[in-house]
Symmetry: C2
Subunit: 387 residues, 2 copies
């Protein structure tokens, strides 16, 4: 079967039906994301990242695939819950709430806000709802206001070692394109300039060609646990955000550099013994702090497939396609669950299922459907070019 067909079929006939069937909370609204391998709810807490992400996914599908009213209703179910229960009096989004919407874990950083903003923006486009559109803008500027001190009073690090983290510029580079219909063009270009510079000049290390997870503001490195940390999935995911920006700006150099970086990171982080991509590594080969460093995570592999597909689509290098085939083979033979649908999230180093779940605190309706959609689109394009 052609890749485009496989990814499209899986998205529409396997992944989306799974979340339509099992994730909706008909009583309180919002989504259950803690679903076991068969889709049964094993925990009812609601994690705001995942509420935003599922609302985004169904809005995006409505906008890009089909004007399916059920998808719009599912998106609205999450948007209404987020509007009602998602944020505190400052408009900062909680990390988690109970099934009924009572706050459980406070707004201790700005990533809940990022995914809420993405959801509001896509849903506003899908529904034409002006209130939600205004909420997307408000949330975006609240994120910018907090971006230099994203953890606020919850920041436990002193100023002794002023490292900056990769997550923020990485997510901004995607968020601002998500909010394209809503923000002023100057705001978009300014934030894209900032993100591309941060990602490609500050965090991308010239010497190794790898993305460091934490660096000093001038891009220099610190010989500490945080300073030595490599998060291959993060680096690769950011590269497809860069390719999207490169396509938008017709910047071939940016696309080529991103494509090369994907290969460099993959060569560095591929587990030659058991296959798959490591979760965390230490640039000097020292023991990482993260006990889960050698595990194989679904999102790392899916983001890699998206990055390789886009890179091959626009840079056309055969090495990218060879890597695609290799990662595709690993991912589909290990994460995909032919029995009950959707993908497992967490494997041990050996590739065995570590947690028998389809969703949890961090895995929801997002990486699998987004990657299925992106790979479908890229390969439809690639296959058309080849014919």
């Amino acid at each position: 079967m052609k890749y485009s067909r496989l990814y499209k079929d899986t998205l529409l006939n396997n992944v989306i039906p799974f979340w339509e069937k099992y994730a909706i909370d008909p009583v309180n609204g919002g989504y259950f994301t803690c679903l076991d391998s068969k889709g049964n709810v094993y925990d009812t807490d609601k994690f705001i990242w995942l509420q935003g992400r599922q609302a985004w996914t169904f809005s995006m599908l409505y906008n890009k695939v089909e004007k399916n009213e059920n998808w719009l209703a599912i998106a609205k179910n999450g948007i209404d819950f987020l509007k009602k229960y998602g944020s505190d009096d400052n408009g900062d989004f909680y990390f988690s709430v109970t099934a009924e919407g009572q706050p459980l874990v406070k707004a201790y950083n700005i990533f809940s806000d990022c995914f809420a903003a993405m959801a509001f923006s896509q849903y506003a486009k899908a529904s034409g709802d002006e209130t939600v559109r205004a909420l997307a803008i408000k949330t975006y500027f609240n994120i910018l206001k907090r971006k230099d001190n994203p953890k606020g009073m919850y920041e436990k690090n002193t100023a002794t070692r002023p490292l900056i983290g990769f997550s923020l510029p990485m997510i901004l580079s995607n968020l601002v394109l998500e909010l394209e219909d809503i923000l002023e063009p100057e705001e978009i270009e300014r934030t894209l300039d900032y993100s591309v510079h941060q990602v490609m000049d500050v965090f991308l290390d010239k010497q190794t060609g790898l993305i460091f997870e934490n660096v000093f503001p001038d891009g220099s490195h610190d010989n500490s646990f945080n300073g030595r940390l490599i998060n291959p999935g993060h680096g690769i995911e950011a590269m497809w955000f860069m390719i999207d920006i490169g396509v938008r700006r017709k910047d071939k150099a940016l696309i080529d550099k991103a494509a090369q970086t994907i290969i460099t990171i993959l060569e560095y982080s591929w587990d030659t013994k058991h296959g798959g991509i490591f979760y965390f590594m230490d640039i000097k080969g020292y023991p990482p702090q993260q006990l889960e460093w050698d595990q194989k995570l679904w999102w790392v592999h899916l983001e890699t497939l998206v990055a390789l597909a886009k890179a091959y689509q626009y840079a056309g290098n055969e090495a990218l396609l060879n890597w695609y085939d290799k990662v595709h083979e690993y991912a589909w033979s290990h994460f995909h669950d032919p029995e009950n649908g959707e993908w497992f999230g967490y494997l041990n180093r050996q590739g065995e299922v570590l947690l028998n779940l389809k969703g949890g605190k961090w895995k929801g309706c997002f990486h699998v459907p987004r990657a299925m959609y992106q790979c479908w689109q890229s390969f439809e394009n690639i296959e058309t070019q080849i014919q």
Copy 2:
């Protein structure tokens, strides 16, 4: 070889020499704890838990094993560092500082303080230093003052689900005995009453016989990730603290209940497929949040050996000795490093070394030597009774 002899020899000729040789920072004082498998320093950050714990270990050995002046000097090296760099203006102890003592991670909970207090108390006893004795008392009362809100402003949980954690009553039950020479008898008895009640009546579940990691203040359970969490190593470690209290109070019922609880937890958490004790479990068998749930950790197995040795010493049940032999066999054949000394800290579920280190952010000079000392003492006593 007799167990008493093996544990004593390993303590004095293998474990202590390792830390004497590799952990001392001769330039700034304090200890390096990030040591690779051969003892080379791979990171110079200083974690306050581990500074306190190593100073405690060498003070304890001086007090209980031998008046070795080198041990006292090594203890002083850590005590001086803690006095100079360990705490902020409130007297709250940081989580970590640089090699030179500059604060890195703030005082976001009270466990650094607990290990500092233990160290000050043992060192005051060893050295007769009145300043350090006063510091032990001051630190202890600072802990009590913070105990109902141990994370202070860093607490991210709302009041929606007011679960209480097991760590605090557990550590208090040991800390107060550590500070026996320093605190008033009424203070000791009051805190022991509180701790025993919390551990044995509130956290120990009557129905399953297991210790829950988080419960409501009345001991009832919550069906959430935190509420379902079982930390077998914590539960078992607390049982030897209970046995120490039972011995002190001549409370045979407490000793027997603790001994039974050790067996119940072991039967629940032993990995029948690969051997060893799981790190985290979910009481309903759902996927835990902790990705490292199935790993085998050094401290879990060592605390289990101490608990079983003490339980067998005072409760004398053959089932305890059978378990001891089984855990001993697993631990010595997997954690012990005959090539370079000391023990590995982290194994994967299969029992292979996951992190090739002898010390890190959490593993220092503490669990291995303390357990070697405790097992040596218990078996010397047991073997004498048998002869």
